[in-house]
């Protein structure tokens, strides 16, 4: 019996709300394959974030003055200048370094954050000249209510795994047992552009032969579970037999999403692959 084979590549996506700074830095919870689908490797103060294939994004909940590094001048989502004031749609006429609610900052300053060796802890520096990360130019001082996203967007060896278990997987379509919706509440269930998110789990008969299951968890545009099921039904009944059907993966220039999914108005933000008992 011929069957299509479905290929998935991993995409890291981690969100956390409520990170209080201590000692001039704010350390996120350690990122794991389970909570973020990625393992960022060590990053020193001197490593340019633009070389990493992932971004660290801050979204303000509270308005506080003088807490944003001078490197950051425009909102990452809207492109509006932080100094635009009420004319730009902000709540008040403020300076560029004054943070207002809902302003989004992509932390691209070289020393904006560090990542510990082997612990996957992203530590964001305050906008002060002290602490292990951040400077007056590159740091940002958060409140306990603010939110942070760590989002992988390119295939890059700065985020593991890239070639080992959990990096990718391929199953015959006949192994797809079922699909279930999962709750997604990290980062208050929102992307940094305020898009609502949901999570869907694809359940496959395991490649381990131990009568267990392997799973592919997909964080995607909210309220699209039915459309995800439709897309998978389409892919499983395709007539592509001479190569794998690539459902999702990252490459060195960005992200690939099969048009059976993207064509249904679904963006994919994270893909976590869990394979049982693989050696």
């Amino acid at each position: 019996m011929k069957t299509p084979y479905l290929y998935f590549g991993r995409k890291g996506y981690y969100a956390q709300a409520g990170v209080a700074p201590t000692s001039n830095v704010a350390a996120l919870t350690a990122i794991t394959n389970a909570n973020g689908g990625m393992l960022p490797i060590v990053k020193a103060n001197s490593v340019d974030p633009l070389t990493l294939g992932y971004r660290v994004v801050h979204r303000a909940v509270d308005a506080v003055d003088d807490k944003r590094g001078t490197d950051y001048t425009h909102d990452w989502v809207t492109g509006v200048a932080f100094s635009a004031g009420t004319a730009g749609g902000w709540d008040a006429n403020k300076n560029q370094d004054d943070i207002q609610a809902n302003q989004v900052t992509n932390l691209t300053g070289v020393s904006a954050f560090i990542v510990g060796s082997g612990d996957q802890v992203v530590t964001i520096g305050d906008n002060v000249a002290a602490g292990t990360a951040g400077t007056v130019a590159t740091g940002i001082t958060m409140t306990a209510n603010d939110e942070v996203w760590v989002e992988e967007f390119q295939f890059n060896a700065a985020v593991l795994p890239i070639a080992t278990i959990g990096a990718d997987t391929c199953f015959p379509a006949t192994s797809l047992i079922g699909i279930e919706p999962l709750a997604y509440s990290a980062g208050n269930g929102l992307h940094y552009d305020n898009t609502a998110l949901d999570k869907t789990r694809l359940i496959f008969k395991s490649g381990d032969a131990d009568r267990t299951v392997d799973t592919v968890d997909i964080v995607h545009t909210g309220a699209k579970f039915k459309e995800m099921c439709e897309a998978m039904e389409d892919l499983c009944n395709s007539n592509v037999y001479d190569e794998m059907t690539k459902v999702h993966y990252l490459h060195k220039h960005g992200q690939f999403v099969h048009n059976a999914i993207s064509g249904r108005g679904i963006n994919i933000y994270g893909v976590t692959i869990t394979l049982q008992n693989r050696a």
Partner: protein
């Protein structure tokens, strides 16, 4: 009932030199349960174990690929190897099995440079 079955044939070495132990196998293509990357220059195929009737672990065939380029080139090569095995798994040859990889005959699709067969024991 007529079977529309396909069999995938593999060998990884000269049988005279190796005595065939772990070096060659044939599987029904529908016993290919999964594939994934396992290292730079390596992707692994997992088949239902054929020899011992166990259901606790698969037989593995590791596909070796060229990892001499950058990380993304390595990824592309691994994907090409898995693509080639999907094509073989979906090929019908009613006059005989489908050769998926043969060291002896130097038949190496998808840029696969070699294979390593490990049987569940």
């Amino acid at each position: 009932m007529r079977q529309d079955a396909n069999f995938m044939y593999f060998n990884m070495a000269d049988p005279v030199a190796s005595g065939w132990t772990d070096d060659g196998n044939m599987y029904r293509s529908d016993s290919l349960m999964a594939m994934n990357s396992t290292a730079a220059g390596a992707a692994t195929m997992y088949f239902e174990a054929i020899h011992n009737g166990h259901f606790d672990a698969p037989d593995d065939i590791v596909l070796a690929t060229d990892a001499s380029g950058d990380d993304d080139a390595d990824r592309v090569n691994r994907v090409a190897a898995m693509d080639a095995m999907v094509s073989k798994a979906n090929t019908r040859n009613k006059d005989g099995f489908v050769v998926a990889f043969s060291e002896i005959e130097n038949f190496k699709p998808g840029g696969i440079t070699g294979i390593t067969v490990t049987l569940d024991s």
